[in-house]
């Protein structure tokens, strides 16, 4: 019997880590935590014109227990901070966080008694997307950066 090489059979070799990471980066289930005006830009990104589904991130889940990426979209006040932390804690590993808009990155121009000065003071953040609000192109760029990060990261499975 003729022995075929792996290439001849149409197969290929990879590492399990890479395979899992590849699957993960194209099946992002996001949890949109939307509090303010950036939400409009999030909607525009998510809808058909910019079509976030091209990146495998088209299905938002409205339960943190079913989501892998937490999109924090909009100003976070000190009153809301414990809620955000609670949501983050409820998400199952592996999980990632995207800070969407300057308000979530640094507090933006709201340096006042009410606003959290960057959500990274409360939860870890993987990708920062600045802008007030960021254009959808920015958001997609951020999403692609997140995918790169997911690909090279070694997270347990």
């Amino acid at each position: 019997m003729e022995v075929k090489t792996l290439e001849q059979t149409g197969g290929f070799t990879s590492k399990l880590d890479d395979m899992v990471a590849w699957a993960r980066k194209f099946s992002i289930f996001q949890y949109p935590f939307i509090t303010a005006c950036c939400g409009m830009e999030y909607m525009s990104t998510a809808c058909s014109h910019y079509d976030v589904d091209r990146f495998g991130a088209g299905l938002p889940r409205f339960s943190p227990r079913q989501a892998d990426v937490l999109f924090v979209v909009g100003t976070i006040s000190h009153k809301l901070a414990p809620v955000l932390k609670h949501i983050y804690d409820q998400m199952a590993d592996p999980k990632w966080v995207v800070a969407f808009g300057v308000c979530t990155c640094t507090g933006g121009f709201y340096n006042n008694y009410a606003t959290v000065q960057g959500i990274d003071t409360i939860i870890p953040v993987d990708v920062y997307i600045p802008g007030c609000p960021p254009r959808p192109e920015y958001v997609l760029d951020g999403l692609m950066k997140l995918q790169e990060k997911i690909q090279i990261e070694k997270k347990a499975y």
Binding site: H78, K79, A81, P82, N112, Y113, I122
Partner: protein, 160 residues
């Protein structure tokens, strides 16, 4: 028939401290003691017929040297007559207390909670005077001019 604020002055001459119509916004400044009676009349009297309380807020005049320090401001609107009136009452810091308007306009409930939360002015007779924007753990009233602009009171995370 004069302007609205003139009519208010004619009817309650002793209770109106001041009136003006800067850029067409008719304003009367009332004494606190007569506030409830006059507001009730403004709402119920067909001559005024102010069914709506559009806004209720306050101003802290500390940096402007106001005495008394606060002004509580009411914006009234009449749907039937299509006219507006702004009513102001001045209150002292020591005695930062107003009679409630919730008995006349239900909407005053949340407005008064906001003014209490932001300026620390209490409303006597309010059914449930709690903070509305800030959390219960918050100390002080952030829109008072003497609230330090860089003071932070986070519930979680770094303290400043």
């Amino acid at each position: 028939m004069g302007n609205l604020h003139d009519r208010v002055k004619e009817r309650w001459p002793h209770a109106v401290l001041e009136l003006h119509d800067d850029r067409g916004d008719e304003t009367v400044v009332l004494m606190r003691d007569d506030f409830t009676v006059i507001m009730k009349a403004l709402k119920e009297d067909p001559e005024f017929d102010f069914q709506m309380l559009m806004d209720l807020t306050a101003v802290d005049g500390k940096d402007l040297g106001w005495k008394p320090r606060f002004e509580v401001v009411y914006h009234l609107y009449s749907l039937s007559k299509n006219h507006r009136l702004r009513v102001k009452v001045r209150v002292n810091e020591r005695d930062a207390l107003m009679p409630t308007a919730t008995t006349l306009w239900a909407i005053a409930d949340w407005f008064e909670r906001e003014v209490w939360d932001m300026f620390g002015i209490r409303f006597e007779g309010h059914p449930d005077l709690r903070r509305i924007l800030m959390y219960d753990e918050f100390v002080g009233h952030p829109l008072r001019k003497d609230y330090p602009h860089n003071k932070r009171q986070p519930l979680i995370g770094p303290k400043n």
